[in-house]
Symmetry: none
Subunit: 269 residues, 2 copies
């Protein structure tokens, strides 16, 4: 299925400046195991106009020859790939993040199909929102702590009796829906379900959210609320999930941090 028109710029619809439909989401692979899968992911992305790939602790060395071979010419994606030590760092500058998972998670979080997510991402992207899609290692998928960092869970509806999708195919399904969402709704913007926001503010970045989480958890550690060691991880995850769901603005993050400081002030004073 080769049909590239080399006269066209290869990052049409890609990041940072999209072709009318907003900047494409960054793809964040957490602990990918095989260079070949990273290369196939890059190829799948560029087929659909996505260009920004981020890797969190890939198992094999980077740059990686097998990734280059498997990318079949999607070198622009691999050349721009950035490595991160943690998922939090990899998404720090993003504003809305989707976690791709096959298994249901025991969390209160929005769950949507890839097609629904693509429509939502287009709406957000045309308004300038910086987007990302998180995917976990080939065999296991994302761990719950990484899912808790995302705003919503994306699932790819498949044959329930055989859902063994390879990593690049999962990326392809999401990227393909992103690409079709532009083709299907040229310029159409449904204001119906948008989140209204005062002009003076903007969505909080993931880095700002992470500082809020760490501030809150630090104070809750200090006051003894998180003292039961075996319960701490799930309490932290629940708090992060519920704050994540609120889609906080930068202003609201500051308000909450002020409130946390205020409430804690007695102990320190």
């Amino acid at each position: 299925m080769a049909g590239t028109d080399s006269t066209k710029a290869s990052l049409t619809g890609g990041s940072p400046a999209g072709a009318g439909g907003g900047a494409a989401p960054a793809v964040v692979l957490v602990e990918p195991q095989l260079g070949e899968n990273i290369g196939m992911t890059a190829r799948a992305m560029l087929n659909c106009g996505l260009a920004e790939l981020r890797l969190v602790r890939p198992r094999e060395d980077w740059p990686n020859d097998k990734a280059v071979a498997a990318a079949s010419g999607a070198d622009a994606v691999l050349d721009g790939t950035v490595l991160y030590e943690t998922t939090a760092q990899a998404i720090a500058d993003l504003e809305t993040v989707y976690a791709a998972t096959a298994r249901p998670r025991d969390m209160t979080k929005r769950v949507m199909t890839a097609r629904h997510a693509a429509g939502e991402m287009r709406e957000l992207a045309v308004r300038g929102r910086r987007l990302g899609v998180l995917l976990g290692p080939e065999a296991m998928g994302l761990n719950n702590d990484d899912v808790a960092l995302a705003d919503a869970v994306v699932t790819i509806p498949l044959n329930p009796a055989f859902m063994s999708l390879n990593l690049a195919q999962a990326v392809f399904a999401i990227a393909y829906e992103w690409h079709q969402a532009l083709a299907m709704s040229p310029g159409s913007e449904d204001p119906g379900a948008a989140l209204a926001m005062p002009k003076e503010t903007r969505p909080a970045t993931k880095a700002e959210l992470m500082m809020l989480f760490e501030h809150l958890e630090g104070e809750l550690d200090a006051c003894g609320f998180l003292h039961v060691t075996e319960k701490r991880p799930i309490m932290v995850r629940n708090l992060r999930n519920l704050l994540q769901r609120a889609q906080l603005t930068e202003q609201e993050v500051r308000t909450l941090r002020g409130a946390i400081s205020g409430l804690s002030s007695g102990r320190k004073g």
Copy 2:
């Protein structure tokens, strides 16, 4: 992305008897070059409920170990695969055939996107029509004689500057659209988006939420955070708004109230 439910029959929606949406199309690979690509094709098919694979003059021997390895468990598809000498023989029993091509052909023939074709195939399948999708060798695609045997041409809309789709990915795009066409078809629920929630809990009532608000505001009054009288109403409104947006569960309301009590404990103790 492993999530197979082994209690479900693995050929849901597959051939010959589909699950409400008609029998799935057969996939016909003409002169596939690599066993690995045949295996990945089988996997992509079964992911989307397609089960019937036909091969016309595969280059490598058949059965093929590399195909089995790449199929990652889609053995049922490989076991049922039938070989043919010519494309005409491979489609002899079918009634409507779609040719997947990336390049435009100089032919008078209907051309449609994979999504459009999927809708049409579902309509035909529920009326009992026997369907097939033809794909050519990895590098070249279908030759014009084979395209001429088809009723319509199917294209997969991609980044015009990089359309290097591998064979299994092309099959996946078409099979995925077939699978989504059932999910989206009239009468079936649009899975769209929903808020997933652990079974043990339920959404908080407004009364529970109001008690949370009053608890938080009481403590924020006590610590002096809300002491600027003219700003108090807007601060309270902002806090209530952001907590409202989180769509808290009853469990989460209790967690937050515990956290507020914990943070405030120093002042009281």
